[in-house]
Subunit: 543 residues, 2 copies
């Protein structure tokens, strides 16, 4: 049997992963759950493989870990080792990593502990906090393949600026995480390290493109992670995996040193941002640690807006968008919104309905502007190795115009985008709405390979609004969220397709977290996170 | 004799101008200077056509006018009438207007006076300040032709956002000003209203593309004017005409309602900004009046940076760039810089030399990104009417690549631009330089039709640095600035061409103002204007 050239190349990437796994924490296969066990999220607790202290550490927020490290109750080494151990198990169950960095992480943690021992102080606001990192965020001396087989040999020549800043703040990077071919699936499959699974239901995707991060957060392999988002790629993985994820406004977090086939494309700006396994506070912690370092002094395209400290206030108006006017959400999402509405009203917060404004138009703009070159750069990156094009890559590219855009047409779409942004803002002002609460996706986590519609998140990309997802604490349940067949008239092909997925069986989505999304005004990142913190306190339930 | 269709169309635009001229202030031709009199800048004072009060008013800054209007010593009507009278004469001598708006300006001034009479207060920070406006900045109900014959019939449906804000602040718009075909000359000629001249020497251009504004400022037809700048189009006209001009960082002043063939082009962002006939303070006044109104609430692409009040400080380092490494400045510019250096050092300000960093590379980026479509949109706008393409349009378009760029190539240039910006900033930080002082052009005002090189200004566009030009008070003088022939070895075609223009006769530039330019860090607009205010106080001489 002969392997294709691309397969040999892909094996190199897989070997990097395999060689990096710290073997001491690998669990023998016979102690792992059966392959057909869907929910593995609670396996660490049920398996008996972790000490009480390891479980306690890995289920703490970054803020709580910092408090204990600052008080000398925990060392950075203990912390990173606990998360590494959990991450190795997570990888065995979910295939979420592309490369472990155990030795350097432990060595770095030891340095931090030494600093603390000598000075009695933490080095910075993220001292000893383990952070998982999406693979296409460059790390000096390591591969940066961005999900393309052809790029496996491409080695980053320096750390991404964001990582430099986080490291100065004390962060410890212990594992790099998986992403789909082309970065353009809301799913997480590539021809190098394969497919990542959802910890709540292994028939489901952890989302994408930061799918490895979604799994990392859902399985608590780190309190914080870093993803990127041009249509939902931070928020969907966080939402699908019951975690927290924040898409900042563009031009706030530094992008230098991130790799993408379409870099230089500026009509729809990709952003990098945090995911957190435990809390909105941790997202704020991440943002302030980065922006307090004034990254615009180095990456001059960033806007020099300091990170404001905003106290949550109940004096806000939340508008609930029940439906985006194009694709009706599946029953559990509507249940989640009803739950939220009841709790918010009971807490005395003003809640109104949000009539969506031309979300189909927004989708036309963003889906066209993803690929003004008819996805040529992505096709070329795939073709370079000869690797097969994956179905969801093909699906994503098909959203672009077959012949692409001329330069002048690209400019016309830029103008449409700006007009749409201004109109949407005017509408929020006119309606007196501070934040829009909506489903994070048209359903809970999609079945593997079935992430086809993402305008519940992409709408905030085309509008460039800061948006954050969070779990309600509710999970999908066929008894509570039965299939609704009667009298449903799809408004179009997309809605018919998406609704049919749920009609095919509510049990397909069993146990998936029900997550919601909050969007605020452009550059009101701080206010949006503060409001989300308030909302989570009110909405989130323990069962 | 038959006129071409385009000529009939052009005549419509010319008729709009002619019909708008307030006839009561037209000076009989026999009282005007002879057509071959080059300097007409001092004609208002020497002619006896203006009262002492009219001269006093029209030679005051906006700030000074506001003080007198606020104290009830002047009415807005007196002010606008004096400037209108001066503007009509200016137009007769320089052909700088495209449309007068005398009636509405006077009516508006009367309303302001009524408000003051009733309340004892000014309506806002620009109460009664006449402002001239470049033609392609839309005014509701009026033509907006942008220098294209084909667009003469295009009527703006609303006022540009910037004008709405200025009007709220109390400004009075009394005259619209000329621009070149395509907006891409540093000169000011089109096939509708013709060619605008420089008040200091009518063989010279007032610069462009905001050439009408340059003439308006130089002849004191308004204390403030509004231009636009994508390569020097505010700064060159201000510099050529002995006035002040400010190019803000991009995304600070609102662009909605400005017309351009290439709108939607975002790789090199055009900006709109003020010119002033009297002072840097007036530029600050304009900026604060606009940005204090938070234009980002309406035009959401703007960055929400409030306008800071910055006090000038002598604790700064000024680096002088004597030469951009590509095209050596003409002798008067070097004399201007030497004068500045001596005065700054005498005033105790730290002055160092600035070694330019790859300005040729900067020019390659910006000149390519002006026309990624091979100037197709401009060619089409010209071709639509069949008007002749002017030599400087052809010249400007020839800077683009003949076949344009593919979408992916455009992205590559975007990346080059970002890298160049970051490298340049790093260099300023590394060298401890706060501001760069340089010539505003490779010479004083160009001879009509000879504006061919503009990288002394465009470099700050590609880098997106705020930059301001101001007069030194010196003027070109063949005796002081003789032709230097000996041992000059041009570094390339552009330098040979530009140097030959001066060698052809120093007397060609007689009496043209010697202006300098100060650039600061991106988004440090306030600090840059504050520093320029300090510098003008030190450098500017009365002769």
């Amino acid at each position: 049997m002969t392997l294709h050239t691309w397969q040999l190349q892909a094996q190199k990437g897989k070997a990097i992963l395999d060689n990096s796994i710290p073997k001491q924490w690998l669990i023998p296969v016979d102690q792992l759950p059966a392959a057909d066990q869907l929910n593995v999220e609670d396996f660490p607790r049920k398996s008996g493989l972790f000490s009480a202290e390891e479980l306690r550490i890995t289920e703490m927020s970054a803020s709580a870990l910092l408090a204990e490290m600052g008080a000398g109750k925990l060392t950075a080494e203990e912390v990173v080792v606990a998360f590494l151990k959990r991450a190795v198990l997570g990888h065995q169950l979910l295939n979420f990593a592309t490369e472990f960095m155990a030795e350097r992480a432990i060595s770095r943690a030891k340095q931090l502990d030494e600093h603390y021992k000598q000075t009695g102080k933490l080095v910075g606001p993220l001292h000893g906090v383990p952070i998982s990192v999406k693979e296409h965020i460059g790390i000096k001396g390591l591969t940066c393949n961005t999900g393309y087989v052809a790029w496996v040999d491409q080695i980053a020549t320096e750390d991404a600026l964001l990582l430099q800043l986080l490291e100065k703040a004390g962060a410890v990077f212990h594992v790099r995480t998986n992403q789909p071919q082309s970065l353009m699936h809301l799913c997480c499959s590539n021809n190098i390290t394969g497919t990542t699974l959802n910890p709540y239901n292994r028939n489901l995707t952890p989302g994408g493109s930061s799918g490895g991060e979604g799994a990392s957060m859902g399985f608590k392999c780190a309190p914080l992670g870093i993803g990127t988002d041009i249509g939902g790629s931070i928020r969907c993985p966080a939402a699908f995996c019951g975690a927290y994820g924040f898409r900042p406004s563009s031009l706030r977090n530094p992008m230098n040193g991130l790799k993408s086939a379409a870099s230089g494309q500026e009509s729809i700006k990709a952003v990098v941002g945090p995911l957190a396994s435990q809390s909105i506070e941790d997202l704020e912690l991440f943002q302030s640690a980065v922006i307090d370092q004034e990254p615009w002094e180095t990456e001059t395209s960033l806007v020099p807006l300091p990170w404001k400290r905003v106290t949550p206030t109940k004096d806000i108006t939340i508008a609930i968008m029940w439906d985006d006017g194009c694709v009706r959400p599946h029953p559990p999402m509507t249940r989640g919104l009803k739950h939220a509405k009841a709790r918010l009203e009971a807490a005395g917060i003003k809640v109104v309905d949000w009539e969506p404004y031309r979300h189909d138009h927004g989708w036309e703009i963003i889906s066209t502007l993803y690929y003004p070159d008819a996805a040529l750069v992505q096709y070329q990156a795939i073709a370079k190795s000869g690797e097969p094009i994956l179905p969801l890559s093909q699906w994503a590219f098909s959203y672009g115009r077959a012949r692409g855009l001329s330069i002048a047409e690209n400019w016309e779409f830029n103008k449409m985008r700006e007009a749409f942004r201004d109109e949407y803002r005017a509408l929020m002002n006119e309606r007196g709405v501070d934040f829009i609460l909506s489903p994070s996706f048209n359903g809970v986590a999609a079945v593997l390979g079935e992430s086809h519609y993402w305008n519940y998140t992409a709408i905030w990309n085309v509008l460039d609004l800061p948006s954050v997802v969070f779990p309600t604490g509710l999970v999908q349940d066929a008894a509570l969220d039965p299939v609704e067949e009667s009298a449903f008239q799809a408004r179009g092909e997309a809605e018919a397709r998406e609704w049919a997925k749920y009609s095919a069986g509510a049990d397909r989505y069993h146990g998936a977290p029900i997550s919601l999304q909050l969007a605020g005004r452009r550059y009101h990142d701080e206010e949006t996170l503060a409001a989300a913190k308030l909302l989570v306190g009110i909405i989130k339930t323990d069962g």
